[in-house]
């Protein structure tokens, strides 16, 4: 039985790692800069990759055509495909623009087409920005916001939970009362209250870390409760008493006996909390409280869909939301498998956490 869970853990972890590597390599994988606007091509549909041309000939190298706007300039754009000029796809394209990192040599992109052709594989938004590029760069923000915020939540929660559980008496009372206050707020409201604490406009860079801290702070309470529970039961084990009898310091006991017990809880929490933190970042960005323009995030890419016209006609704008589904599926799978893994024999009954009890999400 343990076998299956190990496989699931590896599968989920590797898939997630590759997604993260993909977005980290956005500079390479994305054909365009995320802020690059093409004002003459707002809300363009995704371009079709052709392998067979109109005469039925097979081309090894797929090509794209151009979209021509047939509507008038005042109304919504209506695009029709114009294949008079074809742009074959090129790989490992050298970047022509004035990149500041020109000192390192011109950057390369995985794919592109010769100028003045354009390749928008996932369409464009209202400013004509390539959605594929924004998806990849936005992934950096959203996915890593989730990871870093979770690190903060769990770190803080584990430390406070350990202190509360191990030392008992007044630190326990104080920490648990504060945790109760944090948990009394529905999580979005807590998030908003904390977010209101920051300035309204957040660009990339340092403010991004402030945003992460806010999301992280919103989520420390439940992990700390769980960790405290584990520490309380571990503290009363006889082998801890025995170690004390040998003159062990608190640091030794925490490190050698208690820490391994909480690892299981912490890791399983991590998998659930990461998806929760990504969701928090998405929600904030969607509502305009996350990173400001033009920095892309999977949340603010969805913000344009609040207009009915866009929602009805531009289905490709949903891509950032759709990209979240496999990511969340993988994280949930990982959480399930980790939970089952840590139900190993040898762990006391109290140490076992079911995924239901851990459903932190709320």
């Amino acid at each position: 039985m343990n076998h299956m869970y190990k496989k699931k853990i590896w599968f989920a972890a590797l898939s997630l790692a590759s997604v993260h590597v993909l977005v980290l390599g956005a500079g390479f994988f994305a054909p365009y800069d995320p802020a690059e606007q093409h004002r003459d091509a707002p809300f363009e549909r995704p371009m079709r990759l052709h392998i067979f041309d109109s005469h039925g000939r097979f081309h090894l190298r797929p090509y794209v055509c151009t979209w021509v706007n047939e509507g008038n300039s005042l109304g919504p754009p209506r695009y029709a495909e114009d294949c008079s000029h074809t742009w074959p796809l090129r790989f490992l394209v050298r970047e022509e623009t004035h990149a500041p990192r020109a000192a390192l040599g011109p950057a390369r992109h995985l794919l592109g087409v010769d100028a003045p052709g354009r390749v928008f594989l996932l369409g464009t938004d209202d400013y004509g920005r390539d959605q594929l590029s924004r998806l990849l760069y936005g992934g950096q923000v959203s996915l890593f916001a989730g990871l870093l915020a979770t690190g903060l939540s769990l770190g803080l929660g584990a430390i406070l939970g350990c202190i509360a559980g191990y030392f008992g008496s007044w630190p326990d009372d104080v920490i648990m009362r504060v945790a109760e206050i944090f948990m009394a707020l529905p999580w979005i409201y807590l998030l908003f209250a904390l977010r209101a604490f920051l300035p309204l406009n957040l660009g990339a860079g340092q403010p991004f870390f402030l945003l992460i801290s806010v999301i992280g702070l919103a989520g420390w309470a439940r992990p700390s409760r769980l960790v405290r529970g584990v520490v309380l039961s571990a503290k009363q084990r006889d082998f801890v008493h025995a170690a004390r009898g040998f003159g062990a310091s608190n640091v030794y006991i925490l490190r050698r006996h208690i820490l391994p017990e909480i690892m299981g809880v912490v890791l399983t929490q991590a998998a659930l909390l990461i998806s929760q933190c990504i969701l928090a970042e998405i929600t904030l960005s969607f509502l305009g409280l996350g990173l400001g323009e033009p920095a892309p995030s999977w949340g603010n890419m969805l913000a344009g869909l609040q207009k009915y016209y866009v929602l009805e006609n531009c289905w490709w704008m949903l891509v950032s939301g759709l990209a979240l589904v496999p990511v969340f599926l993988l994280y949930h799978l990982l959480a399930d498998a980790l939970c089952a893994h840590f139900k190993a024999p040898g762990l006391s009954r109290k140490g076992r956490m079911t995924i239901e009890k851990l459903q932190v999400a709320i």
């Binding site: 008496s169 006889d238 008493h241």
Partner: protein
């Protein structure tokens, strides 16, 4: 035997055995829950307990469940502080010491827990378990600790190849031996054995009790043997104390034959004679 373990020769048989541990008027109560940091009125577990254990001897502490035997054991092992009273170990008062000052004394008094499975961390290997006290007190290099651990295991009758196993992979009797080995690592003077023979089948029980008796001679240990079963301690102990509802009721040499539980019953001379023969045999 390893050279590190020496036989104590400074106590010659003709010396009057000194009192190693003395408890005076120990009281201990437990609070029932906390309301906003203040303790609610407590349940008294120990009431003015007086005890005295002579060096090299075995004192048995018997009593029904709930009489406070384990609590007394833990207080004497300095795992808990009594509410009032004094504990004198080799003449030195322990109750008023700070935790830091208490450390060297705690090392000389070791408690062997009731449930060996609970007293061993399942994530450790057997060698790690036994060498843990040495690690904590910072003695020796890793290699030296491992060697000493294997020696200690040999002393209690555990073969070296069990060293890499987790306690979960050992049998009940082997686990008990492991707990004893760990307790001996720092060369304690007093071992408090809390129900050390409970839950074992007869043959294992005989083996462990023989082991304990042997160790007592070799390492010059003093035992406080806690049990709820008077028969078990009969051939083991030099003196028996009975604890009832937190107070010592009787204290004296064991007079129990195998058929009686109460120390007050009279027994027939034939039974006594048979019993002495049995005890004489088992002590060899």
């Amino acid at each position: 035997m390893s050279a590190a373990l020496t036989m104590r020769t400074d106590l010659s048989p003709t010396d009057e055995p000194q009192v190693l541990l003395r408890a005076l008027a120990l009281c201990k109560g437990y609070a029932r829950g906390r309301t906003f940091g203040r303790n609610r009125p407590s349940i008294e577990v120990l009431r003015a307990v007086d005890l005295k254990i002579r060096a090299g001897s075995t004192l048995a502490l018997i009593g029904p469940s709930g009489s406070g035997k384990s609590t007394l054991g833990r207080c004497l092992a300095c795992l808990e502080r009594p509410d009032s009273g004094e504990i004198l170990f080799a003449g030195k008062g322990l109750v008023s010491l700070t935790p830091r000052e208490l450390i060297p004394f705690r090392r000389q008094i070791q408690l062997i827990f009731q449930e060996p499975a609970a007293a061993l961390n399942p994530r450790f290997t057997a060698v790690e378990v036994v060498s843990e006290p040495l690690l904590i007190s910072g003695r020796g290099t890793k290699k030296e600790r491992k060697e000493r651990a294997i020696d200690l295991m040999a002393l209690v009758g555990l073969p070296a190849h069990l060293g890499d196993r987790s306690p979960f992979e050992l049998s009940g009797g082997q686990r008990r031996r492991l707990v004893v080995a760990r307790a001996l690592a720092l060369e304690p003077k007093l071992l408090i054995l809390d129900e050390a023979l409970a839950g074992l089948d007869l043959s294992t029980r005989a083996q462990i009790s023989n082991l304990l008796l042997e160790l007592q001679k070799v390492c010059s240990l003093t035992y406080l043997f806690i049990s709820h079963d008077a028969d078990m301690v009969a051939h083991f102990a030099d003196e028996v104390a009975v604890l009832h509802e937190g107070e010592i009721v009787t204290l004296g040499p064991p007079r129990l034959p195998v058929c009686s539980r109460s120390p007050h019953t009279d027994q027939s001379p034939a039974v006594t004679a048979a019993f002495s023969r049995l005890s004489g045999l088992s002590r060899q």
